[in-house]
Each structure stands twice: as structure tokens, then as C-alpha cells.
């Protein structure tokens, strides 16, 4: 009996310890970034583009990277949605008798989901070279779109599968065509689409490898798709690589900004997921 109790105690201790390590690392990471970045967090960081001095600046801020990242992540998410929604609808509502094919396709998307983002970056770079494009906002958006499509398809696929089959039957019974039925289903999953958008945006804004060759970097806010655009992860990368302590500190401040953006997006999507499941009958 005593042995069993000890065993119980021992494994419970291991579980608590592991949970504490994982949970604690969240606060450690955020805490470190905050500790290192907060002294350099100024209003200018959010509202100004880099000024002169020390390569990427000790003056001004990283507005160029904030706006650039928003453009890249926003553009990629919109483009990704335009492609992913039809795929998810087709997969679920038009491939009825073709279980094998639809499951194979799902597996392909899962594989794409797992491909490291540097591969998408390299692929995007090849496409750009082929079309004779230079590193630009457009290039970055294309590479990140490739990255988020599998995420969007997978999320939308899951969400569509939560819609009861009876709702589709109800729409069909009223004489709807498949596309009209699909529109009813899309209406039913509106909160799910918003969740997919936020997940995709959060992933897109934090990725560095996909934009490394494709988006380029610039101190200016891009005014057209063909201009290079700075992104937050790359700004952090460059700033932390600087030998000057002040610029490094600004790198942590940039990391703090990125973390806060991602945190807001994550919390928003969590809240929406909860709301979504509450409204399901």
C-alpha cells in the first residue's frame, strides 16, 4: 500500500513540476522581454519611422515595421481566405461520394501545414525571381499567403464539420442548390471564419523566415506593393544583431510590441471560439 501511495505522490510531483516549467516559461519569456525592452519603450517607437544613427537607428521608432507587418499579415490573410474558403467548401460539400480523394487532400494540407516557413520563403523567392520581381511587399504577401493557406483550410475544414448535417439537409430540402446550401453553412460559421482569420493573422505576423528573402526591408513605410517592406520579426532580428546596446534594447522593445500584438490576437480568438460554441445548438 505504501509503495502505491509513494508512486502516486512521485508522479503527481512530476506532473506538477512539468506544468510549472511550461507555465512559468510563459511568464519568464514575457517578463524578460518586458524587463529588457520596457526602458526603451517610448511613444516614438510606435509612431515614428527609424531616424539616423547606429545603422537601424537610435532615433525614431519602428512604425515602418509595424505597418509593414500589418500589411503583410493582413494581405496574406485576405488572399489566403479568398483561396481557402472555396477549398474548404469544396472539400466538405462537393466531394460527397469521394471519401478517399477528400481524405487524401486533407492529408496533403496537413503535410503543407507542417512544412517549415523557410521553405515557403525559398519557394516564394523562386517565384519572384521567375517573374523578375524584387523583394517587395507583394513578394512578402505571396510567401506568407502560401504559409497561411494550409492553416486556414484546416481551421475552416474543422469549423465546417461542426455544422450539423441536418442543417444542410434542411436547406437542401427547401430546394437549395449546393452553392445556396454552402452559403447557409458559411453564414452558420461566421464566428468560426473570424477565428480562422485571427489564427492566420497571428501566425503571419510572427513569421520571419517567409519574409526573409521576399519582403526585403526598408526604413520607409511602403506606399506600393512593389516597394520593399519592413516587418516586425525582421526588425527585431536586425536590432538584436547590432553590437550597440541601445539598439539591442530597442530590439527587445520591438519584441514586446510584437508579443503584445500576438497576445491580443490570441485572446480575441479564444474569446470568439468560446462565443462560437455557446451559440451552437
Amino acid at each position: 500500500m505504501r509503495r502505491r501511495n509513494l508512486e502516486e505522490l512521485f508522479f503527481k510531483f512530476l506532473m506538477v513540476l512539468a506544468t510549472l516549467i511550461v507555465g512559468g516559461s510563459f511568464f519568464l519569456i514575457v517578463g524578460t522581454i518586458f524587463y529588457k525592452g520596457a526602458p526603451y519603450m517610448t511613444f516614438d517607437m510606435l509612431t515614428k519611422t527609424p531616424g539616423g544613427g547606429f545603422y537601424i537607428g537610435k532615433e525614431g521608432g519602428i512604425l515602418n515595421a509595424i505597418i509593414g507587418s500589418m500589411y503583410v499579415a493582413g494581405g496574406a490573410t485576405i488572399l489566403g481566405l479568398i483561396i481557402s474558403i472555396p477549398v474548404a467548401i469544396y472539400l466538405n460539400m462537393y466531394m460527397d461520394g469521394k471519401k478517399f480523394l477528400s481524405n487524401t487532400l486533407r492529408m496533403v494540407f496537413d503535410v503543407l501545414f507542417g512544412i517549415p516557413s523557410i521553405v515557403y520563403g525559398a519557394f516564394g523567392f523562386l517565384i519572384m525571381v521567375y517573374f523578375g520581381l524584387r523583394a517587395s511587399l507583394l513578394g512578402g504577401i505571396i510567401a506568407v499567403t502560401l504559409l497561411v493557406i494550409p492553416i486556414l483550410v484546416r481551421t475552416l475544414d474543422e469549423v465546417i464539420r461542426t455544422v450539423p448535417l441536418e442543417l444542410r439537409d434542411a436547406a437542401l430540402s427547401l430546394g437549395s442548390t449546393r452553392w445556396e446550401t454552402a452559403k447557409v453553412v458559411l453564414r452558420a460559421i461566421r464566428p468560426g471564419i473570424i477565428t480562422a482569420i485571427l489564427i492566420s493573422f497571428g501566425r503571419a505576423i510572427g513569421d520571419v523566415a517567409a519574409v526573409l528573402f521576399t519582403a526585403g526591408f526598408s526604413d520607409n513605410i511602403p506606399t506600393s506593393l512593389h516597394e520593399p517592406a519592413a516587418t516586425l520579426p525582421l526588425a527585431i532580428f536586425f536590432q538584436l544583431g547590432s553590437p550597440i546596446e541601445e539598439v539591442q534594447g530597442r530590439g527587445y522593445a520591438s519584441a514586446l510590441i510584437l508579443t503584445i500584438v500576438v497576445l491580443i490576437i490570441t485572446i480575441l480568438s479564444e474569446l470568439l471560439v468560446k462565443k462560437f460554441y455557446k451559440h451552437k445548438s
Binding site: D96, G97, D169, A170, L172, S173, L174, G175, S281
Partner: protein, 254 residues
């Protein structure tokens, strides 16, 4: 079998789902403007039979249907038959209400809209008429534009009936339509069926014999994918001809 003109005529129907033979050599004529109940134990193929009437199996994988189902003399499994046209002729009332994710008004107006009614005045008339037909008008007339999911489940089921009627069907298919409802809502729905049979042919799947007795004119008893007995309600419940039917309805006390 019946004096009435057959509205749905099933000829040599066989249905296989995923290699299982669910319905076996069925032949039935379902009469016009009356209520016909399909009864039988769980898993006997009642719902499968109902779904073959409006080809809802089309959306499921691995379903093979052979034989003919004639509606108004038209073979609905003919490849040239337009599926939306067939489904428009039949309103389906499922086990639980599944209102469309839109307002009460839009739920009823949905069918007419997809079939080409666009004018607001016309839609207003249809919505009011069908909500009155399903005894829902007085309960919802002040909140037509609020979400349909806020209604009680009994109200939702009546809304689903109104939604189906708004398309102008000839046939109403009910798949255990009252199984999720409380007794009061159940009796409202049952009364509606009895009232609606003046204008519609109604086919119900039910496992409640008392319900079949209350609302239906004819009863089809299905057992293990075959039709065991088909006749007037009185006769099937009181004087079943077949042993299997006797066994099944003996719990029913008149």
C-alpha cells in the same frame, strides 16, 4: 390498396448503404391528401425510406438506390430530373428543429427567395400566411427580425414547418418530428398535421404508436427493410394481418 390517387409511388426500391442492404424490394403507393405513418423498430429503415423520397441520400457517401420512386408520375431518380425541383415539392420536418442561421422572417422567406420571389410585399404575405398556418404568428409577430435560435424548441419546430410550407410543397415529410418536443408542442404539431392534410400529402416516420393512431389515415409497418403490412390505421393497429405486426403493436392498447 387505396381509393385515393397515389402521390408517391415506390416501385422495386432497393437501398444499400455502405454494403448493407437497408431497404429490400419495396413497393408502395402513398395516397394523396392524407397522413401516412411509417412505423417499425429502430434501425428498420424508416428514415432511410423517408429520405429516398426527396433524394437526401445524394449527399451521403456509399448510398446506392435502385428501383423507381414516382412523384406525380415523375421518376425522381431519373438522371434528367432536376433535384431542386423535386425537393421543392416536399417539405421536410426533421427530428430536431434546425432553423437557418438568420431571423425568423428570413427563415420563412428563404425558400421563396431562392425560388425567385424577390418583392418585399409578396414575401411579407407569404411569411404572415405560413406563420399563421403554423399557429406561430401571434407569438412572433413583434420580433420577426430577431434570431430564430432564440425561440423555444417547440416554436422552432413550427418555424421549420412554416419554412417548409413557404416553398409551396405538395408533400410534407416528417422524420419523428415531435421526438424532441414537450407534450404541448407535440400536440400542436400533431393538430397541424391533421389540419394540413386537406392541402398536403403527409408522410410521417414515428415510433410512437399512439401518435400514428392519432394523426394518420394509413400505416406502413416496416421490419428489417421490408414492408410487412400496409393498410388503414384502424385495421393495422386493431386487426393486424401479419404475426410480426401483431407482435409489434401488442403494446398498443386501444
Amino acid at each position: 390498396m387505396t381509393k385515393d390517387k397515389a402521390h408517391i409511388s415506390v416501385q422495386d426500391l432497393n437501398v444499400h448503404i455502405g454494403g448493407n442492404h437497408i431497404l429490400k424490394d419495396l413497393n408502395i403507393d402513398i395516397p394523396n391528401k392524407s397522413v401516412t405513418s411509417i412505423i417499425g423498430p429502430s434501425g428498420c429503415g424508416k428514415t432511410t425510406l423517408l429520405k429516398t423520397f426527396n433524394r437526401l441520400h445524394d449527399t451521403a457517401a456509399d448510398v446506392k438506390v435502385t428501383g423507381k420512386v414516382l412523384v406525380d408520375g415523375e421518376d425522381i431518380y431519373d438522371p434528367n430530373t432536376e433535384i431542386t425541383h423535386i425537393r421543392k415539392k416536399m417539405g421536410l420536418l426533421s427530428q430536431r428543429p434546425y432553423p437557418l442561421p438568420m431571423s425568423i422572417y428570413d427563415n420563412v422567406a428563404y425558400g421563396p427567395r431562392i425560388h425567385g420571389t424577390r418583392k418585399k410585399q409578396d414575401l411579407d404575405i407569404i411569411v404572415e400566411k405560413q406563420l399563421k398556418a403554423t399557429a406561430l404568428w401571434n407569438e412572433v409577430k413583434d420580433r420577426l427580425h430577431s434570431s430564430a435560435t432564440r425561440l423555444s424548441i417547440g416554436q422552432q419546430q413550427r418555424l421549420c414547418l412554416a419554412r417548409g410550407l413557404a416553398v409551396g410543397p405538395e408533400i410534407i415529410l416528417g422524420d419523428e418530428s415531435t421526438s424532441a418536443l414537450d407534450p404541448v408542442s407535440t400536440s400542436i404539431i400533431e393538430d397541424l398535421f391533421v389540419k394540413l392534410k386537406q392541402d398536403y400529402s403527409i408522410v410521417l416516420v414515428t415510433h410512437i404508436l399512439r401518435q400514428a393512431a392519432r394523426v394518420s389515415d394509413y400505416i406502413i409497418f416496416v421490419y428489417d427493410g421490408r414492408i410487412v403490412e400496409y393498410g388503414k390505421t384502424e385495421q393495422v393497429l386493431r386487426n393486424p394481418r401479419e404475426e410480426l405486426t401483431k407482435e409489434y403493436v401488442k403494446g398498443y392498447i386501444v
